[in-house]
């Protein structure tokens, strides 16, 4: 088949934005559901939170935070394109959004362990 545009930075940024948005949208109902458990029984929530002490779950959570951060900073970048005067440094912004996101999620992960 035909090749199509590998290694295009801004394209990767847009794929990240979409991927993170969708995963967040799938995760969020679960998150709400778990919190909603507190309504019936705080112990159930605690049981769930215990489970989150597991390392693997910690990593997964850090991943979600990463996605949230990526999506947000990426989203702010898009909003800047749409509503602020044009800047020629789009790749820098995309890279910055990703870098800050990693920084945030790493902080989260480090404080969690």
């Amino acid at each position: 088949m035909m090749r199509y545009r590998k290694g295009d930075d801004l394209r990767i940024a847009s794929l990240i934005h979409r991927f993170s948005g969708v995963v967040l949208a799938v995760f969020l109902p679960v998150h709400f559901y778990v919190l909603g458990l507190a309504l019936s029984d705080a112990a159930q929530l605690d049981g769930f939170l215990k489970w989150t002490d597991l390392a693997i779950v910690k990593i997964a959570e850090a991943g979600l935070v990463l996605l949230l951060a990526l999506h947000m900073f990426g989203g702010l970048r898009l909003l800047a394109i749409e509503f602020l005067p044009w800047s020629p440094r789009q790749k820098t912004f995309a890279a910055a959004a990703i870098a800050i996101s990693f920084f945030v999620s790493a902080s989260f992960f480090l404080s969690a362990v």
Partner: protein
Amino acid sequence: MENINRKLKVRVWRGTQGDGTFSTYEVPAQESQTILDVVTWIQQYAEPTLAYRFACRVGMCGSCAMNVNGIPRWTCRTHVQKVLEDGELEIAPLRNLPVVKDLVTDMSEFFDKWVGAEGRFHPSATRDDEIAAISPADPKRANANAAIECINCAVCYSACDTIAQNPAYFGPAALNRAWTLQNDERDTAFKSRLETISGRGGCTNCHSHQSCMTYCPNELNPTESIAGLKRMTTRSFLFGGR
């Protein structure tokens, strides 16, 4: 010259819509050689029925765009050395348009959308009137001018992932043109055009992927134009009128 006697390995798409394969050709390398020259060589010496399209051969008509090593380009102004990967080229028709034959696409929908997005001037004066005095420094005119030098090559149209997924979307070139017109003080269709470009198929479909701007051979920036249209849309939605 190290180029002399060297051969390029070129894979070229042969076939029609949905039914084709790549054929491989060995093309002698030359010092001054564009992708269009490579395709021409193949047609003249190896594959007499190979179909491709060109006219001006100097980047003015926008007829010759193809996908070269996965990237949409104007082939008459793309030097082989700039895009060669390990001595190889892969040449395919533009994406997002139906293929007529081999490297030739049917550009009708590109132009239908151009017109569909009201990409034409609606006059406020006639040939009996004087030509309007408009300062080039006027900010609106500067906006209009920044987007004007489009050759409708459909490189951006082919590069845009949104069109691939949302065929109703007008695409960057049509909206870029609409932006120029929205900033043209001589034009009278501001309102109706705004309605069109903020409706179905319009600027709100754009995700600011910026592939259009990255690959536009004339270094135009449809992303910026479309963002301008989005602001116009927003303003008119929130406050009405201009």
